[in-house]
Amino acid sequence: MLREHPVNLAVSVRELEKRFGAFVAVRGVSFDVTRGEIFGFLGPNGAGKSTTIRMLCGILAPTAGQGTVDGLDLRTQPEAIKSRIGYMSQKFSLYQDLTVEENIDFYSGVYRIPSSQRAARKQWVLEMAGLIEHRRRLAGVLSGGWKQRLALGCAIVHRPAIVFLDEPTSGVDPISRRRFWDLIYQLAGDGVTVFVTTHYLDEAEYCDRLGLIYRGELIALGTPQELKTTLMRHAVLELTCDRPEDALLAVEQLPGVHEASLFGRAIHVVVDEAEAPQAALASALAQCGYGVERLERIEPSLEDVFVSLIRARDSAAQPQAEVRQ
């Protein structure tokens, strides 16, 4: 990858590491985020997403490694970083016993918004979150989608250049999630860099670039398209047949099949190459008495990519673990 001038990088980290006692939460993570992009940080729960985002926001000190956020050093200038960024933590950190307006007023005081702009910024947040009519209601009684948009509004009331969102859409209904992503696009359109963590793969498709973190290590980095085409060493076949639950067990036993998993009513089969096994698979299934409706090569989804990357990582780690025992 071409190293860009640091000024154009919203975030740049090298060999970032965080240990909690003997536990290594984040190990040797390096990546760059260009200004204005939506960078998705993807990974299962406990993979180190929140730990990384907290280090970037200056509320956790890295154990090793270095990095910059908005051109400022993570290790030496955390307080300067804090006034340039917006952060929305995993739990919506609103004051439940304060009204919508009081929450916004509090954060505009904390971020020292000049009094000439306060009213306009408040109006902007209220409109963005769709809370104009509910401005005097307590934050605690709002529904999940509203709380989430209000929390975003409070985090960006000071117009930061970079916004860090830690699993902003967890536990919200699909329509609210969609609306929230519209807001993220709107921010990116205004030139704001958005760093967002998620474990929803459909959301990952909305990002300009993705990093996949697993067990504290960054195991993939690129655009969604790059990940699907270059990182997937195997081909994916989609199979539609009778009794897919039973067929799945049979398919897994066949030679040349790496993995098979259910995708709705279909089965995704990961194989070495597309052509040779395709015919063998069809005949083998027919022999076992499963009527094959459809069997064709498909472009892997992000889920296929990540499942295969994670399985590859696990099978590489397992022999090591056994040796250690």
Partner: protein, 377 residues
């Protein structure tokens, strides 16, 4: 330190208090309740001690002797007993705390000028009352002895009018020796210590528990701004508590306030700054509301109650414990308030205590600020 940010934090904290009427009620009701409870119950005055008499003499002289006790405000004669078992029963059941036993030959011995042994039995399970009551009983017996001796001398023609030396006691600052006058000013200090630390001990821990601290840590708020912003509303509440306590002292307990009222509030303010900062420090270290409130109770209530000189004079304590009292800030406020209330003295006498209170305040604020790190672990 940015005033806008402190104002935003103070305003927010004030709203939290307003929205939670229970905590606001607690902040005002607890000090009042403690003041009423301790102010009325914690009287160490001894009077109307219940007494029984076993008068074996049944004579004019013995009745005259007993009437001296009856006429005294310190004793209350609850009845006569006839047998040792009755006497024991009266003391066992706490009908009486003290018992007088007059011998059968009481009258003869008095008349013939011989020594009369009068037995006084006291219930020592309440040693304070027993000690004081025995002192009173001894004084009454001595006066009776003097009076009969003088009467005898007089009858024999001596011209002696009175005993040569007569003590005329005069008590300064609290002429009626009312323990309430001594207790109420000290009590104000103890209550302030407990309530102030308890109030703030919950605030930082609450933000940790609710997850809002993470958001604050990621903002440009400075630790000292957070501490200052959070202390302001509680300082206002605690000063209101001081006002209520002073008013109650004046109108409910009628404790004389001889010194400068402004000095009471001024010293209260200095003390509260330290006590509130101490609560903040506990909250910062504990990070959980339950733990913080328990630590606050433990580190304020017992030392303030036992080691401040409020109940037990510090001079009566063992040397090691006396040393420990120097780090109990309530000690200085107890001395200050008693001085201002009862003696009417000012800073010319109490300057050392005032300085030490200020030191306590500054140290607490500095330590709280140093302990607050803008990191999650």
């Amino acid at each position: 330190m940015n005033p806008r940010r402190i104002a935003a934090l103070a305003h927010k904290e004030f709203l939290h208090i307003l929205r939670d009427p229970r905590s606001l009620g607690m902040a005002v009701a607890i000090p009042m309740l403690m003041l009423v409870l301790f102010g009325f119950a914690l009287s160490v005055d001894v009077d109307e001690v219940p007494m029984v008499v076993w008068d074996q003499s049944r004579s004019h002289a013995s009745r005259e002797f007993v009437s001296r006790f009856e006429g005294s405000p310190y004793f209350h004669l609850v009845g006569f007993v006839e047998r040792p078992e009755e006497l024991a029963h009266a003391l066992d059941t706490r009908q009486a705390v003290i018992a007088l036993v007059l011998p059968t030959d009481f009258a003869e011995r008095v008349e013939t000028g011989r020594r009369v042994p009068v037995q006084v039995i006291a219930d020592g399970s309440d040693s304070n009352t027993a000690t004081i009551a025995l002192g009173y009983a001894e004084a009454i017996a001595r006066i009776y002895g003097q009076d009969t001796a003088l009467a005898e001398l007089h009858r024999q023609g001596a011209r002696l009018q009175a005993v040569p030396v007569e003590m005329r006691p005069q008590v300064w600052f609290n002429p009626d020796l009312e323990s309430r006058n001594c207790i109420v000013p000290g009590l104000i200090a103890v209550i302030m210590m407990v309530i102030a630390a308890l109030l703030t001990s919950l605030t930082v821990a609450r933000e940790w528990e609710r997850g809002t601290m993470e958001q604050l840590l990621a903002s440009p708020v400075r630790g000292r701004e957070l501490i200052a912003g959070k202390m302001i509303p509680y300082f206002a509440i605690a000063m209101f508590d001081v006002l209520l306590a002073v008013l109650m002292g004046q109108f409910v307990f009628r404790v004389p306030l001889r010194g400068n009222v402004a000095l009471v509030f001024g010293m209260g303010a200095v003390f509260l700054a330290g006590a509130l900062a101490m609560g903040m420090l506990i909250s910062i270290v504990a990070k959980s509301q339950l733990l913080a409130s328990q630590i606050a109770m433990l580190t304020t209530f017992l030392p303030a109650f036992l080691l401040s000189g409020f109940l037990v004079p510090i001079k009566n304590m063992p040397w090691l414990i006396q040393m420990a009292t120097y780090v109990v800030p309530a000690r200085y406020l107890v001395t200050l308030l008693r001085g201002i209330y009862l003696k009417g003295v000012g800073l010319e006498v109490l300057v050392l205590e005032a300085i030490l209170l200020a030191v306590f305040g500054v140290v607490m604020v500095l330590v709280a600020n140093a302990k607050f790190r803008k990191k999650m672990v």
